[in-house]
């Protein structure tokens, strides 16, 4: 029995046992459902083995929405615990685990796959390509991310969740203070997902540099593609740091090395340092694609070309460089002197300048535009003021001297939610509404959509503005309870109500999907928003090969100019199209990665060695595999084109 003891949850409670049962039942229900409806073959053929960027994108989207739900449940639990003073809903250990997983899930397993969804679905269509540069690698990226996310998510029912915060600072995350396997989950699950992300970065840089439609110069790319390029560039330079950091952390925890030990030549502060060398660029990896999406949405619904295209690009390039110069502002109080703090203070404040340029460019795009308040546009309009508020409090936090007052308080928590929710989450949901018709051939209901936006914003303001106040009054973050005498009670209750309203807003989004699947009209054409860029020039639903004839581009807004100024983008006749073959290898290899990760976490060495050999076997097989892809013949393309044209 000793062997199985390690899988027990260290601090069990009713909630965790209930989750175990729920997870077990859901898995059984899914397996039985697939078998009953005889969908195994379909699932394997069309989804698990696919290398099509659109399908991989949609799988990213489904994962992201599931993780949004999971992270959201964590958030509600946190706010419920803090809603009244001396609450006994969660005990301290459970609270630690919940806030740690909330952070990791929301950043790495919700926001990251959400932007990957947009990269995958939108970028190849926007630049007029037929797929990404390395389609098989793209599938590996997705499945590695997926397996990493699943590994992380089983932690709370098998062996215990990480409990040292999403930053997992040493020495707290070391073996002395975190005795459960929770922090092993953190090190290894994020490592597996991170390798996938790094591959995505390389893949999309290559795609954007090498596979643009004939005639599309770099300075003619749509703004979202630009933001994707810059964001992937940051991924390629920031994620190796995370890889090394997690490898060192894993060795400290499993093999008793001393990288982050307090004695023996190690330095626990080095973890904080390297974590933020990755962690700060990471927030720009998330926010730049969000800016790109808002640029597309604002320009489409203001019915104007984007104001200041060149300054938009320049500001993103500056941000990409500056994102690497500011990391120490996350630990101003760690003990370094005034000189170091002043340096990082100034670079941090400087980054507000290019961000401000972008805000003004969006405002000038709106100026004298014929603004149309659709749901995506409403998200953008709520984003502008709310995000600016978060930006301003960011500059407050950037002042290192004043930071001694703010650090580790709810003020900080309010600030980063204030930039991430209106910045990233609004962009993701707005972009989702915007691209939904291109993916599925019908639009989400506008009326329910606008309710969702308004409820989200009302909930957001109620949930996070009170935290600024309690934070300035001294409420520390990550404290599981507080006494009534502190006076934090009423404002925390308001925050809980706000969180509840945001949950209702999410439920409304889910209901909107259900409602629109049933009742939304299907005859919407290829370009329901009257948009400006190439992704709207092809059919809905997008055929496997994206474009029957490669588009020829002469301007920044190729499709708009084709509609209004008579540019011809589809010249030439249909030829046979070369497409990559599907492959089960990415899925199989990632499953082995999952087993490898699991056995590493629980130090089951024989299984770890066997699965590592399995991974190597997959790599060797791939090296000797002959796979030249396949051609789609002209007749088949013409047939598809006729059918899609008829369906309009």
């Amino acid at each position: 029995m000793d062997f199985f003891d390690r899988f027990a949850v260290p601090h069990p409670s009713f909630l965790i046992y209930a989750s175990m049962v729920a997870i077990g039942l859901t898995v059984i229900a899914v397996l039985v459902g697939i078998t009953y409806f005889k969908k195994w073959d379909y699932l394997w053929r069309e989804w698990l083995t696919t290398v099509d960027h659109k399908r991989i994108g949609i799988m990213y989207l489904i994962s992201a929405l599931l993780m949004l739900f999971r992270g959201g449940v964590d958030a509600i639990m946190l706010r419920a615990q803090l809603a009244i003073p001396d609450n006994k809903l969660l005990e301290s250990q459970h609270y630690n685990e919940v806030f740690s997983t909330h952070g990791v899930v929301m950043i790495l397993f919700m926001a990251m796959p959400f932007i990957m969804f947009f990269f995958n679905f939108v970028v190849p269509l926007q630049i007029g390509a037929r797929d990404v540069a390395f389609p098989r690698l793209n599938a590996i990226s997705f499945w590695l991310f997926f397996m990493g996310a699943m590994l992380f998510n089983i932690s709370f029912v098998i062996g215990g969740s990480p409990d040292a915060g999403w930053t997992s600072y040493f020495p707290l995350a070391g073996n002395d203070f975190s005795t459960s396997v929770g922090s092993n989950y953190y090190m290894i699950a994020i490592q597996i997902a991170g390798i996938g992300t790094l591959m995505t970065g390389i893949n999309f840089i290559t795609t954007i540099f090498k596979m643009r439609a004939p005639g599309m110069k770099l300075m003619q790319m749509p703004m979202f593609t630009w933001s994707a390029l810059i964001s992937n560039l940051i991924i390629v330079f920031a994620f190796p740091v995370l890889t090394v950091l997690l490898a060192m952390g894993t060795m400290d925890r499993l093999f008793d090395t001393k990288f982050f030990a307090i004695g023996d030549g190690g330095s626990d502060m080095l973890w904080a340092n390297l974590f933020w060398v990755w962690g700060h660029p990471e927030v720009y990896i998330l926010i730049l694609p969000a800016f790109g999406l808002f640029s597309e949405i604002i320009s489409t619904f203001a019915r104007r070309n984007l104001y200041g295209y060149k300054s938009m690009v320049a500001s993103m390039v500056v941000i990409s460089a500056f994102s690497f110069f500011v990391w120490a502002h996350h630990f101003f109080t760690m003990g370094q002197g005034a000189l170091a703090n002043s340096f990082f203070s100034i670079t941090t404040m400087a980054i507000a300048v290019p961000t401000g340029v972008k805000i003004f460019n969006w405002l000038f795009t709106l100026w004298k535009g014929k603004i149309e308040f659709t749901t995506p546009m409403l998200y953008a309009m709520h984003f502008l003021p709310l995000f600016t508020l978060g930006g301003v409090t960011g500059v407050m936090l950037a002042m290192s001297a004043a930071d001694y007052q703010y650090h580790n308080t709810m003020f900080l928590v309010a600030h980063f939610h204030n930039v991430i929710i209106p910045g990233v989450v609004y962009a993701m949901l707005g972009g989702l509404t915007y691209y939904w018709p291109k993916m599925f051939g019908f639009m989400l209901n506008e009326r329910i959509g606008k309710w969702t936006v308004w409820l989200m914003s009302i909930g957001f303001v109620l949930a996070f503005i009170p935290m600024y106040i309690t934070g300035l009054d001294g409420q520390a973050r990550r404290m599981y309870t507080y006494s009534e005498a502190t006076g934090f009670g009423p404002l925390n209750m308001v925050a809980f109500i706000g969180a509840g309203i945001m949950a209702i807003s999410f439920a409304l989004l889910v209901y909107n999907i259900y409602y629109s699947v049933r009742y939304s009209p299907r005859n919407i054409g290829n370009d329901p928003w009257n948009a400006r860029t190439l992704e709207w020039a092809t059919h809905t639903p997008v055929p496997e090969y994206n474009f029957a004839v490669m588009p020829q581009v002469k301007s920044t807004e190729a499709f708009w100019d084709a509609k209004k100024n008579g540019h011809e983008i589809f010249k030439g006749k249909i030829e046979k199209i070369h497409m990559p073959n599907s492959s089960g290898l990415p899925f199989i290899m990632s499953c082995i990665f999952f087993v490898f990760g699991f056995s590493m976490i629980f130090s089951i060495w024989p299984l770890a060695i066997i699965s590592l050999l399995g991974i190597l076997g997959c790599l060797v097989y791939r090296s000797f595999e002959k796979d030249h892809g396949h051609y789609i013949p002209v007749e088949e393309i013409e047939e598809t084109e006729t059918k899609l044209r008829g369906a309009k």
Binding site: F237, V241, V277, A321, F325, A328, M334, Q336, L339, A340
Partner: protein, 93 residues
């Protein structure tokens, strides 16, 4: 036949052998730690640059601009990270 002879690569190979030999001197000669590390660092970076340009053909295609800007950006990020960390942990701790 002259244009078929890869003179650049042969020269590069000879040069990288010389760099390796110089680096080996650190082991065989009795020199101070500072001198040894300096020689190792300098030869290592020249070696890396040589491999990139001569044997991985960094500058020989139309992607030259993209490749070199990526390399320069990587060097910038690495230097800022190293010197920033030194500033935090050594020079101003």
């Amino acid at each position: 036949m002259k244009e078929l002879f890869p003179i650049k690569q042969v020269m590069g190979f000879a040069f990288s052998l010389i760099l390796t030999a110089v680096a080996l001197l650190v082991y065989f000669l009795d020199m101070s730690f500072t001198a040894g590390i300096t020689i190792l660092l300098v030869t290592a970076f020249i070696q890396a640059g040589l491999q990139l340009v001569v044997f991985m053909h960094a500058g020989e295609t139309e992607d030259k601009g993209a490749i070199y800007s990526n390399v320069y950006f990587g060097i910038l990020v690495a230097l800022v990270t190293i010197f920033g960390t030194l500033l935090i942990f050594v020079w101003d701790m």
